[in-house]
């Protein structure tokens, strides 16, 4: 872990407008994450965890406050700049895996490369990562033919194929049984320890949170410890 601060938010707020109603999802979040950290974010449903990820990952702009990711000021970003941030700096992993159902595992990974404008073959270093994830023999199957654990491992491979500075995993084991959860959590820890991948992971499960270096608790749109 270095001392470089990769993520910093100050009084970060987000209000969703639903028709006439304003829904405050984040009510002043202050967070710092250093390069190489593995942080677990826990908290009850509706406490704003996913919203925090959407903002950090450039999927939606904040309403107010400061937010920096790898030196980029997200409050000043245009839509196009946030798209570029997603492409270069961020990898998402979701509870539902969210693989493209019509593409094979290999093509799901390849399309992330394609979107980033990089040819897949160029990256010789990625082979060991696939081996680490244990999916090399499943690459030519479509998601429907893969188990949940395998799908999530493919999703992780897709999330890191462009070497993002942060990996945002939103309840990555939420749909997995204990055995597969352990495998996925072990892999995340390996990525963090061996490759220095910075990881933020939302989870409900204390056992899962124990894999992280640090646990951040959220409640009602704020960090409470």
């Amino acid at each position: 872990m270095s001392e470089e601060i990769l993520i910093r938010t100050r009084d970060l707020r987000k209000i969703y407008h639903v028709g006439e109603v304003d829904v405050p999802a984040l009510r002043g979040v202050d967070l710092e994450v250093k390069r190489g950290e593995f942080v677990a974010i826990v908290g009850p449903s509706g406490s704003g965890k996913s919203t925090l990820f959407y903002i950090l990952g450039g999927l939606t702009p904040p309403t107010s406050g400061e937010v920096f990711v790898h030196g980029n000021d997200l409050t000043r970003m245009t839509e196009a700049e946030r798209t570029e941030l997603r492409r270069k700096e961020v990898g998402f992993v979701f509870q539902r895996y969210n693989l493209l159902p019509t593409l094979t595992a290999a093509d799901n990974i390849a399309i992330a490369r394609h979107i980033a404008g990089k040819p897949l073959d160029e990256d010789a270093n990625f082979r060991p990562i696939l081996e680490l994830l244990g999916i090399t023999h499943r690459l030519h199957h479509k998601p429907a033919a893969l188990s949940g654990g395998e799908q999530q491992r493919v999703a992780i491979a897709r999330a890191i194929v462009n070497h993002p500075s942060i990996l945002l995993a939103d309840e990555p084991t939420g749909n997995l049984d204990t055995e597969n959860s352990r495998v996925v959590l072990g892999l995340l820890r390996d990525l963090n320890e061996r490759l220095g991948q910075t990881i933020l992971m939302i989870t409900h499960n204390p056992e899962a949170a124990a894999y992280a270096h640090r646990i951040v608790r959220m409640r009602d749109g704020r960090i409470v410890g």
Partner: protein, 373 residues
Amino acid sequence: MRCPGLSTPVINKLVWENLKHRPVRSALAVLAIGVEVTMILTLVGLSRGTVEDMAQRARGVGADILVRAPGTSLIGLSSATMNQKLLGFLEQQPHVRAVAGTVVHPIGGVSSVTGLDLEEFNRVSGGFRYLAGRPFRHDDEVIVDAYYARQNNLRVGATVRLLNRDWRVCGIVEPGKLARIVIARDTLQNLVGATGKLSSIFVKLDDPANTDRVIASLKQQLPDYPIYSMEELTSLYSVQNVPGLKAFTGVVVSLAVVVGFLVVFLSMYTAVLERTREIGILKALGASPGYILNVVFRETALMALAGSAVGILMTFGTRWAVMTLIPASLVQKIVPEWWPIAAAIAVGGALAGALYPAWKAAGQDAIQALAYE
């Protein structure tokens, strides 16, 4: 990482798999575009084929020069207005070996009855080749060509109703020479109140090499009469010269494009709605709105190109149907020059139809799409 099969860009695989994912919808859209393309190509083929067939039949007479009545166009079906005495005048001209006057009376569509003096016509053309029967001897007899006979199930001895009268088929002749329905000239003249009048005169020369010289001399003596060499005929019998055909073609092409547009609109609109999550995933991976548009437009273009290929193939089917069912009324030609034009029209219409769905997809909110439920 090396993955076999990655030589095709993965975006094309996505497009292809998307189309395969909903085979019935994709096939219907392709078929609809195919129908659009066939409509265009069949109309073009029918216009060209029918008009060129007219020219070919006129040339099939074997004459060297055609004289028409003043103020008439070649294709418009006008009534007989030329004085029959002109035949004698033309016959006297140097180099003229034989002349034949015709009366043409329209009977609906592009069909017409032609009145001929067979002896005169034989001197110019060498006569019809009879596949069955014989020339007419009575003024209630009619000669038809094999196409007309096939289309109307006629045999020698059959009765056919034309111009409000019953006629007996006395002969069936090989197609390709001037007319499909032929009766005695004076009978037709009397029937339509054009006694002593002609529609066209075919002139046969002693040597085709004299054509230009004779035409020049005729034009001097008959300044008001349109006079053509047979060479000229092919270019004059052109789709451009058929009154109203251009406008009609425009209407049919527009209708075809509207159908293609609507089908693609609907197909891509449902596809985009159905793929809300997939589009959200692409956006989370950093896909720009341009990338999403690219996917939708590639899918549309692929459908339109497949539809164009289907449409071109179906044109052979419509040609077969026309040849089998109505060979005497219409002739359909396959016009390969129009394949890229029809395909371009189809692709253009389809892309226009995909515009709104694509725009909707590109502007979709990713986090709404990715929300768990």
